[in-house]
């Protein structure tokens, strides 16, 4: 874990032979701060769609999309039911409903019961995204005090996608990243700063094997 942010050989190795088409990021407790540190690493002109999902208390309306729209040089919005996914856009899951990605690359929302006490649940978004994008998906799981996301990340891994988990030693709350690591071996376990370095690298065309 002592690698400098500038030495990216491990990141390049994990990306070898991949062509990433979409990124999904899940976080819970401590997630607002973590996303606040991570998302500014997305450069203007970023071409991939990025789906962000963060647990919020209750059914309270989420203002995350508004908050980040002011801070990022990209289109940022709440994902809307039946909306077609556009490149270069950062989408946030809205409050009170599960968010899924459909096989025709549109979003859908649903009010099935909460998963791991969470709605939206990270597992639901990640599993459906893995179904839609297969090996073309990169999944990132950050800080949280919950076991949501572990099954979703495992599904991404099983579909051949890239899996990146925040280093539990660094995460504000280690439970969520640790629970993913306990379930399978992610491609990369990284501190936030290095996940930030990885984000721009995801969008280049097929990486040299």
């Amino acid at each position: 874990m002592n690698k400098s942010a500038f030495d990216a050989t491990d990141l390049q190795a994990a990306l070898a032979g991949r062509r990433v088409e979409a990124v999904v990021i899940g976080a819970s407790a401590g997630g607002v701060e973590a996303l606040g540190a991570l998302l500014p690493a997305l450069p203007a002109g970023y071409t991939l769609p990025v789906f962000c999902i963060l647990h919020l208390p209750g059914d309270r309306e989420s203002r995350l999309a508004e908050l980040f729209a002011e801070r990022l040089p990209l289109r940022v919005k709440e994902a809307v039911d039946k909306e077609a996914i556009e490149p270069g856009t950062v989408y946030f899951a809205g409050a009170g409903y599960h968010l899924s990605v459909e096989s025709d690359f549109t979003f859908s929302v649903s009010c099935e019961p909460p998963v791991h006490f969470a709605r939206p649940a990270i597992d639901v978004l990640m599993e459906s995204s893995a179904d839609a994008y297969g090996a073309g998906l990169a999944g990132i799981l950050l800080t949280g005090a919950n076991h949501d996301g572990a099954a979703g990340m495992a599904a991404i891994h099983a579909a051949g996608g890239l899996t990146v988990v925040q280093d539990p030693d660094e995460a504000q709350v280690a439970t969520m990243p640790q629970s993913a690591i306990d379930r399978f071996t992610p491609h990369l376990i990284l501190p936030l700063a290095r996940i930030g370095a990885l984000l721009p690298m995801l969008e280049s065309d097929t990486h040299e094997p």
């Binding site: 409903y97 459909e102 859908s108 649903s110 009010c111 179904d131």
Partner: protein
């Protein structure tokens, strides 16, 4: 793989193929049409059914459903989504009370359609609202769903007592003018709602996927139903609603539902945009 056509078409996974065959079989055998439901949540619900019904594969589930009508009845409880609450999203009911009711009061008699009424929470909520606004007696409410068990639950009107605290809060936020507890009594191990509320309610089996319009209506409430439908079916349903509604009639949807991506986007105009209340435009 065909190089010309393969590039953009992902080969469906085995489970996608099986799911398609399952809903086709259900349609052909039982006439329930789930073919245009959105894939992701349908898949989750079928997987949940497989766990409970102890089937290893979707194909095994399909075989059981084909040969045992009781297994289909069980699967139907998974394929439909009975997750609802009374006065869910109180701001919606407040908008109906403040912005729709004044128009409804101008009609000598009223027809209201609760489409996809599930276990009836929304029906009782609207009946209470109409009663408090002095409209219930001259209203006819059609409450429709495809799930016979849900309709039976709705008819009974017995809700879990432990939900009453949440419902009371919702009711108050929704602009309720009475004591919520006046509308129910403890009975049958739950909260039994006032039978008078459903005197003018017709509970009926109706499929938005396959049935047609049965009445002219003034107000249609269809909340968190079309989120489970793909765009083709959503368009069909919005077409039914447009046809059923009187000139300038009202349509209420769930708080995260959008008609922007449908072919009816221009045929309903928002009356309360955030609360998802629309008015019919045109004929």
């Amino acid at each position: 793989m065909d190089a010309d056509h393969g590039a953009h078409l992902k080969q469906p996974s085995d489970i996608d193929i099986e799911l398609r065959m399952l809903v086709e079989a259900v349609y052909l055998k039982y006439n329930y049409d789930f073919r245009d439901y959105t894939g992701a949540s349908q898949k989750r619900r079928v997987l949940a059914a497989m766990r409970v019904m102890e089937c290893e594969t979707v194909s095994a589930l399909q075989a059981r459903v084909m040969h045992e009508p009781a297994a289909f009845a069980q699967l139907l409880q998974f394929l439909t989504i009975p997750v609802t609450e009374m006065f869910r999203d109180p701001e919606y009911y407040l908008a109906v009370r403040r912005q729709v009711v004044p128009f409804l009061k101008t009609y000598p008699s009223l027809k209201v359609w609760v489409a996809g009424c599930s276990t009836g929470e929304e029906v009782y909520s609207l009946a209470i609202l109409l009663k408090e606004e002095g409209l219930l007696e001259r209203s006819l409410i059609y409450a429709t769903d495809i799930n016979p068990e849900s309709l039976e639950t709705a008819r009974r009107g017995v809700m879990p007592l432990e939900r009453m605290r949440l419902y009371t809060e919702n009711y108050q936020k929704a602009g309720g003018t009475q004591a919520f507890s006046d509308y129910y009594t403890a009975a049958y191990g739950g909260a039994l709602f006032d039978r008078g509320l459903i005197e003018n309610v017709t509970f009926a089996d109706h499929s938005l996927a396959t049935d047609s319009v049965f009445a002219e209506t003034h107000f249609i409430s269809c909340r968190n139903v079309m989120i489970y439908f793909n765009r083709r079916l959503q368009n069909r349903v919005l077409g039914l609603f447009h046809e059923s509604l009187v000139h300038r009639g009202f349509l209420g949807l769930g708080s995260k539902e959008s008609i922007d991506f449908s072919s009816y986007a221009q045929r309903f105009e928002p009356l309360a945009r955030r609360e998802r209340v629309f008015r019919k435009v045109g004929q």
